[in-house]
Subunit: 361 residues, 2 copies
């Protein structure tokens, strides 16, 4: 089974392949034909699982294939580990025609993408996302970067991959916590853009949690369709793309406040959506029933729905530094209704109510 989807970005357009056993199919990696060398960037958890198979696939292009394995986890998404990629590229003579292949989750994809964006001012890369979060979200759209001690993804670039290859089989080895974290972004896509898809998610929660291939295939495909349509319309997040950050203003505050790596990104986003929905209700857009339903769906995916109790002051501080602020004003993604979102600022008083009501303060 394989489905192909095109992200339409003019001369930077690229295909997303979704299916089973894709990492064994050299023809999907055809962009490597013009490469002088190929570097698989992965982490020490994923490497033993798939790097040998992927190496075998890539060696068919007759170019040197090397593996760079970074430590695993969000806490390593920093300059120090990015530098390890540059060190190896330079040590082994990579050049402007070198291809990077990101094999792993969102951290590996973001770091590899930023390495590709910055190495010699830009080389090509392919995304091979092996986590659900990366398949439904971070591998698509060209956002790349690393964290700064004062904020998540503060340093980065927009740099589109030349292909995304989402092998559903790799999800079978995911720890349940990581699977749930990915489902948070799937729920998000329904919540902000497609009420019918949210109905489907609600009805198929069990199949998704069991990582059923058909259900997962549909969830990944529909998520990529929604995300790539938004990205095509607004690549650099001047407008509508920011709605993809639903749950992220609160979520980033949770991640930063806990220390990166304590909560998974998807867990923080899941919980952040509970707060975002509550705030949308206080702004009189969606009903209490909508909030309860969304909270229940998030909960059904085994995601946390009660935020850490940092208190109002700390949350406001943490959100202040988020990239979504403008002139000091925090910007929130607000649900107009289930399936439709927009960006706006909100009165601090209402935000405080949300923080209190949800247990954050």
């Amino acid at each position: 089974m394989m489905k192909t989807l095109e992200v339409d970005l003019g001369n930077r357009s690229y295909p997303i392949y979704i299916g089973t056993d894709l990492i064994d199919q050299p023809e999907l990696f055809n962009a490597c034909e013009k490469a002088t060398s190929i570097y698989i960037v992965t982490n020490t958890t994923v490497a033993p699982l798939y790097s040998e198979r992927l190496t075998k696939t890539l060696e068919k292009f007759g170019k040197p294939v090397r593996i760079i394995a970074l430590p695993d986890g969000e806490s390593y998404k920093d300059w120090k580990n990015l530098q390890l990629i540059f060190d190896d590229l330079l040590k082994f003579g990579a050049d402007r025609q070198t291809m990077l292949v990101a094999l792993g989750g969102g951290v590996i994809g973001d770091m590899t993408g930023f390495a590709a964006a910055s190495f010699m001012r830009g080389i090509r890369f392919i995304q091979v996302p092996t986590t659900l979060l990366a398949q439904v979200d971070s591998s698509v759209g060209g956002k790349t970067g690393i964290n700064h001690p004062l904020g998540k993804n503060m340093i980065g670039a927009f740099h589109q991959p030349v292909a995304v290859i989402a092998d559903l089989n790799t999800l079978k080895t995911l720890p349940p916590r990581e699977l749930s974290a990915g489902l948070a972004e799937v729920v998000k896509h329904g919540a902000i853009a497609d009420a019918q898809f949210l109905d489907w998610i609600e009805a198929n929660a069990k199949a998704l949690l069991a990582c059923d291939t058909d259900a997962m295939g549909h969830a990944v495909l529909r998520s990529c369709e929604i995300k790539s349509a938004v990205v095509s319309a607004d690549e650099r997040e001047g407008g509508i793309r920011a709605t993809l950050n639903f749950g992220h203003t609160f979520g980033h505050a949770i991640e930063a406040g806990m220390g990166y790596g304590e909560w998974l990104h998807g867990e923080a986003v899941g919980c952040g959506m509970v707060l975002g929905a509550d705030l949308s209700c206080r702004l009189k857009r969606i009903s209490k029933a909508d909030v309860e339903r969304l909270t229940k769906i998030i909960h059904s995916m085994n995601l946390p729905i009660v935020p850490p109790k940092f208190g109002v002051k700390r949350y406001m501080e943490l959100m202040q530094v988020d990239k979504k602020t403008e002139g000091g004003q925090i910007r929130y993604v607000i649900l107009e209704k289930i399936g439709k979102a927009q960006i706006e600022s909100a009165p601090d008083a209402l935000v405080k109510e949300t923080l209190s009501a949800t247990g954050a303060a």
Copy 2:
């Protein structure tokens, strides 16, 4: 006196202003009107000279203006010092509408540009080059970046400024060595693109070394015209833009081999052009008389014309890691004739002859 030149890059086009006392003219910085805050990035040498005047000019926009002063020199063009910019931006609440203003030479311009390219995945910046090298070369064209221990400018981005403001008065305070280093790039523009301009340079060497405002105004303007025409035709260096690297393959090897900061970039490029001309002659493109004339012009600008004696092996190693290699092949900028250049590889045997003949081996 002020001349305006437009770098034509579609919706990323921007003006270059060349003249006297420009840093006192707020209207040239009009792009700051939409900024939420303004950060002047400079170094500890330039800050005492111009940061107060520039701050006064920028404060007219009614936004907070802050100064970030880095240590001065090519050896500080690294991640650690780039991080100091990010630290201050985040500490003081910079956001996506923040404007950076690079006040200084090539190092400050390259670092500020890369900081602007990477901070929150891209914010705007203005170049206020205060060295000749920066005014005639590095501030124009959007190349930004930092050095890696294994190679110069290895990490970076293409990120265009929103304006370049070249105040000729700032050149008056330049140490003679820095002025000569800048003249190397002026000579380069004549050599690769405009034989008549090279004649003019030859005839006006004394006025240029004396930093005569009229002569300098013409040298900066014509250099910016040549460079911006090349950049407009080939922004991301797929072809003709690479001819601007004349003297740079050898020059980067000299800089890296000596340790960054020992030779000024322009000095290394000046000497690198002597080697590039010698190689062009061995490839039977230009005459021995052309090589001698170009060497004499470079020498007349008080630039070194004898390279450090690293030996053949070390030079080849150092050039191998340069960004201009492709599949392990070193690419050289070769003069077809005075005023015309192109990129090609060259037989190692000839390169070795050049290294021996010029004193490098």
